[in-house]
């Protein structure tokens, strides 16, 4: 996969750097975030060019989509006082010269070491592909995520879970005053939601042998959830139902892994003949949790802006995802 560079790539790379810099340096943070989102979309194009479609999907859905939504939402919530920043936020003041020099030094060293690397090297291609038959899936990335290095992925879901726990620990936020949900959005919802569910399910299923999988599917479901929230504001606090869904994927994954160990296989060791099914089960469970967690990260614990008293009781008031 080392096609020679085409004009397209050169342009893409330049565009990427320019957008990246704009995303960092624009005085207006709203602009910056929008450019960051566009940057993320271009980045996923890059992934495609580099032969990493799985990463591309994840980047578009999570790196650009979810992260962008979160950033915009935060800016909106903080209002003008929070969104304000200096006119030239990254200007090279004397105090920053040291930083700049250090960064440049690092870049030079990085270039040197990249150039020092061999032009071609084996990597783990051979073993990864040889073992593919025993991994239960035919998409090597999925095989790596859920079999070769499943321990990473289990902990990774733990990280996601922690993020939402952290958000819950913080005080509930006042809900943003939203315009009355217009019928258009409702209609859109009625069309889009089923679609997202179907596509997510497809991504999950296809992940076994083609780009896709729990994270991409989950992210897509989450997008649907966020749309729902925009139409009919939710509050996802640590209510019993929400907790159950949040912990579901992690628990199933861990349980399966430990069960494998108890049955004599060893930690997260799946017998090849059942590996496919096991992975599908884990991914399905994980996708649900990932989706809800991502929505919860966006929605968080909210209290009606009208009722200031509710702060202390939100935790108990929350009634799960259903509005």
């Amino acid at each position: 996969m080392t096609a020679e560079v085409q004009v397209f790539d050169a342009v893409l790379a330049v565009l990427l750097l320019w957008l990246g810099w704009r995303a960092l340096a624009s005085a207006d943070l709203f602009k910056a975030v929008v450019q960051f989102i566009v940057f993320g979309l271009l980045l996923s194009l890059t992934w495609v060019r580099l032969g990493a479609p799985d990463v591309a999907l994840a980047e578009a859905a999570i790196g650009a989509g979810l992260a962008g939504a979160l950033l915009l939402d935060t800016l909106a919530r903080m209002g003008p006082s929070g969104a304000a920043d200096e006119a030239r936020p990254l200007a090279l003041t004397p105090a920053r010269v040291g930083i700049a020099l250090a960064v440049i030094g690092l870049a030079v060293l990085l270039v040197a070491s990249v150039l020092a690397l061999p032009a071609r090297w084996p990597g783990l291609v051979e073993p990864a592909l040889q073992q593919l038959s025993a991994s239960g899936v035919s998409n090597p990335v999925t095989a790596t995520l859920l079999n070769y290095r499943a321990w990473d992925t289990l902990l990774e879901i733990g990280v996601l879970m922690l993020a939402v726990l952290g958000v819950w620990i913080l005080d509930a936020e006042p809900a943003l005053p939203r315009p009355a949900p217009d019928p258009m959005l409702g209609l859109l919802l009625r069309v889009l939601l089923p679609l997202t569910v179907i596509v997510a399910g497809y991504l999950l299923w296809v992940g076994a042998h083609a780009p896709g999988g729990a994270f991409q599917g989950g992210a897509l479901l989450a997008a649907g959830g966020v749309l729902w929230h925009l139409a009919r504001p939710l509050s996802l606090g640590p209510s019993r139902a929400v907790r159950a869904v949040v912990v579901f994927g992690f628990a199933v994954f861990l349980a399966v892994g430990v069960a494998a160990a108890l049955l004599g296989g060893g930690l997260l060791t799946f017998p090849p003949e059942h590996a496919g099914a096991i992975i599908l089960v884990i991914e399905a469970a994980a996708m649900l949790s990932i989706a809800l967690i991502m929505v919860a990260l966006f929605v968080g614990r909210q209290r009606p802006a009208t009722d200031p008293q509710a702060a202390d009781t939100t935790g108990t008031q929350d009634t799960g995802a259903a509005p």
């Binding site: 990085l110 499943a150 861990l254 202390d312 935790g315």
Partner: protein, 494 residues
């Protein structure tokens, strides 16, 4: 139970406990937490027994051989850290049970931060704390550079979430902590990918065999070390620690200062004693780390001396104590060396003593409603248990007999003298003088007669007894030298 089974249990127990605690919710979380802690201690000792008897224990995750799969290994050093985490962690759990359990129980005795408005989610401490515990265990046992990155992130986010428990007032401290942690892991992963690209493996042992000196390897080493220094809060990258540890709720401060920061040190030791140690001229880097450690000891000590609030003082003392551990690195050639033995002893004693001391601070805060050192008059008569715990912990931190801190310091100085590293000797001794200065100053408050008007709330006994137990543990570690040496030797990775 076989060695590998024990290893898996050590990993699974806290994670499963976290899931269960989250599932059962406010009512049962504490019970689950205590149960998990008990099981965690048992599992850790079971694994230690296997390492003691059978040496290094390994588990290939998913049954895949490295480099495709990843391997979990329990050598002497990892096991020692596991034991430390389990025992101290259990103590922290018991303390937290009375502390956060407060809004279930009738008396909300020890609450330093006052009504934070997030009282209803305080119980989330349990799943987060258990995840942190699980992350620590996973980190100690992991033999895979990328897996270590994931464990570091898990640990970092958990720690930040725990700090956030202190309410909106601590948001800034938690945020700073998180930004530092993110930067640290980015630098770390950058280094990892350079190593992977050059050697096609992420496994520590395999990497050490394949390691080819070169600019990319050195850059990788520098990046990973810097990232870990940030996470370990080694001077001068320590700035995030005092606010974070100082503003967190008492049990959280205890967990962070006693256990979480040690993870970074552990990885630095692994990197420079196991992985990069074989590089030609690699001995320079540990020297550099040692120099930073010296800076940490002195700077942390002086800052602690300048603090007027107890928790801030204790937090700066952590900065200083981490310096001792760094100083051990250049003195130790390998993980089994005397200096490393000393470092682990110091780490364990510090963990016990510092956890106890933060718990004492919590009780004092509850009793006096503030933690201004000079105004804590007469706590010796008012809170005799806490005063005793504080005194014992202080003695161990200063490094006076008969405590684990003393044995550790003695072993460290001995290693330094054997290595003719007189700078290290001077720094260690100076550091203990500074520690004596600020700790005895705080301690002397206990003997002053309190003015009659100083009002003080009733403070429950149980948390104070936990603090005392941990302080006594710090003392008991005076006898840990020999067993620990055997453990380190028995589990030597090669």
């Amino acid at each position: 139970m076989t060695g590998s089974a024990a290893l898996v249990t050590v990993l699974a127990v806290p994670l499963a406990g976290a899931a269960a605690a989250l599932l059962v919710g406010r009512r049962g979380a504490a019970v689950v937490g205590l149960l998990t802690s008990a099981l965690g201690v048992v599992a850790a000792f079971a694994l230690a027994a296997h390492v003691f008897a059978g040496g290094l224990q390994r588990v290939a995750v998913g049954g895949w051989a490295v480099p495709l799969g990843m391997e979990l290994r329990a050598d002497g050093l990892a096991t020692a850290m596991l034991l430390m985490t389990a025992v101290i962690g259990a103590g922290i759990s018991v303390y937290a049970w009375r502390y956060f359990g407060a809004d279930d129980h009738h008396d909300r005795h020890v609450h330093p931060v006052g009504p934070s408005g997030s009282g209803s989610t305080q119980w989330l401490f349990w799943p987060v704390w258990l995840l942190a515990w699980g992350a620590l265990n996973a980190l100690y046992l992991s033999g895979d550079l990328f897996n270590l990155y994931v464990t570091l992130e898990l640990l970092g986010l958990a720690a930040v979430a725990l700090v956030a428990l202190a309410g909106a007032g601590a948001a800034a401290a938690a945020l700073r902590y998180l930004l530092f942690a993110l930067l640290g892991s980015m630098l770390y992963i950058l280094g990892v990918e350079l190593l992977y690209a050059a050697h096609q493996t992420l496994d520590l042992l395999q990497l050490r065999e394949r390691l080819q000196p070169g600019v990319s390897v050195w850059l990788a080493a520098a990046l990973m070390s810097t990232g870990l220094l940030v996470k370990t809060a080694i001077f001068p990258l320590h700035v995030w620690l005092p606010p974070a540890h100082g503003s967190a709720p008492a049990p959280v401060s205890a967990a962070l200062s006693a256990l979480v920061v040690k993870a970074g040190f552990y990885l630095l030791a692994r990197l420079w004693l196991d992985l990069f140690g074989s590089l030609p001229g690699a001995s320079v880097a540990p020297l550099l780390l040692g120099a930073l450690g010296a800076g940490a000891v002195l700077w942390g000590g002086v800052q602690a001396l300048r603090q007027t609030r107890l928790k801030a003082m204790i937090a700066y003392s952590t900065v200083a104590q981490l310096g001792y551990l760094m100083i051990a690195l250049p003195l130790a050639g390998r993980v089994t060396d005397g200096a490393m033995h000393a470092a682990v002893l110091l780490a364990a004693s510090h963990a016990a003593a510092k956890a106890s001391m933060f718990m004492c601070a919590g009780s004092l805060l509850a009793a006096y409603g503030h933690d201004r050192i000079d105004a804590l008059t007469g706590f010796g008569t008012r809170l005799p248990i806490t005063a005793t715990a504080f005194a014992l912990a202080a003695i161990s931190l200063v490094g006076l007999p008969p405590t684990g801190g003393f044995v550790g310091k003695f072993a460290l100085v001995e290693a330094a003298v054997r290595a003719d590293a007189w700078w290290a000797v001077a720094v260690v001794l100076l550091g203990s003088l500074l520690a004596a200065a600020f700790l005895f100053h705080a301690l002397s408050r206990a003997f002053v007669e309190a003015p009659a008007d100083t009002a003080s709330a009733r403070v429950a006994r149980a948390p104070q007894l936990v603090a005392l137990a941990l302080a006594l543990l710090a003392v008991a570690l005076v006898a840990a030298g020999e067993p620990l040496r055997h453990l380190l030797a028995a589990g030597a990775a090669n």
